[in-house]
Symmetry: C2
Subunit: 201 residues, 2 copies
Amino acid sequence: MAADDKHLIERATGESTVLHRGWIELRKDTVVLPDGNLATREYLGHSGAVAVVPLLDDGTEMRLVLVRQYRYPVQKVLLEFPAGKLEPGEDALLCGQRELQEETGYVAREWAFGGEIHNAAAYSTESIWIWFARGLQPGPARPDSGEFVETVTMTLAELDALCDRGELPDVKTQIGLHWLQRWQAGKMSLTWQSGTAAASL
Amino acid sequence: MAADDKHLIERATGESTVLHRGWIELRKDTVVLPDGNLATREYLGHSGAVAVVPLLDDGTEMRLVLVRQYRYPVQKVLLEFPAGKLEPGEDALLCGQRELQEETGYVAREWAFGGEIHNAAAYSTESIWIWFARGLQPGPARPDSGEFVETVTMTLAELDALCDRGELPDVKTQIGLHWLQRWQAGKMSLTWQSGTAAASL
């Protein structure tokens, strides 16, 4: 934020209530608006999530590992990069490694942090941290109980064509695709690190 | 969804409770999982939102119209394309026209629908419908009471550089930028229609 953003910033007054309902944490804060008036802000407290763009580079043409999953709130099977919610206190990279392995069975030799996105900043504290993974080794998936997920692989060209046809509505997946293309074009940089170093955190 | 997605799809049982808290609608449904077991799904009911990618083509180099807005849940001023929530029963294009004018003052001569994204499919029914607008005429902004929004314009190159530096975390804005670039590259098509025709709906 710029130093001169006082005309936009809302300050918490400290008056806040929290309602828990299942996994959902609803917060209601009283804030001071830039003009000095009070207002309430109702939103979700979310621990954040990690999404992984897994590059399957074992063959002649790179493929991507994705999952197909029914998303009940939107009543659709969505094609998504593997992702999951952070456990309390969990390291983001370890979360990415856990989710990739649980959902697809793959373990990655190298990891690189892509960046952070806000998917519902109007009403949720959620950040999604996007990681890239390469040097994939297959293994058995271990989905959570009650989680039904199908692993698929496709080439970058196939995923790109889905995006052009409007058939890639999941935001983290679409942004992961774009960042991958920006990285390949030399516009975004990625710093790769060993996956085993992270596992010893 | 493919015809063979029975191994993924969850069916509603009809058992559902709804809790209203301020503007937030919390739903809790009992569903039948693909294996026949029952589970509960807790999520937000959301009427959907419209985001507008406004192309300011009055000069030699096209600029984009964006807003800077404090997003209390993430405690940041975000740079975003103008957007807002659909009123109950509101037409998506009329919503986009209303939000563009309220937040920035601009009225657009032509509109084209880009597509639909799901920004929080794990826990919200929200769709964001992204529209493109061109032939902009300036006018007075009319922000909602208690809404503090700053209009900015920038070139496509400037916005693209922000994205490369990881400084464009808002998902609808980043996806709007990518779609604009895909359209310019001839990969995505847009069908333009008159803005006044929509206003008479």
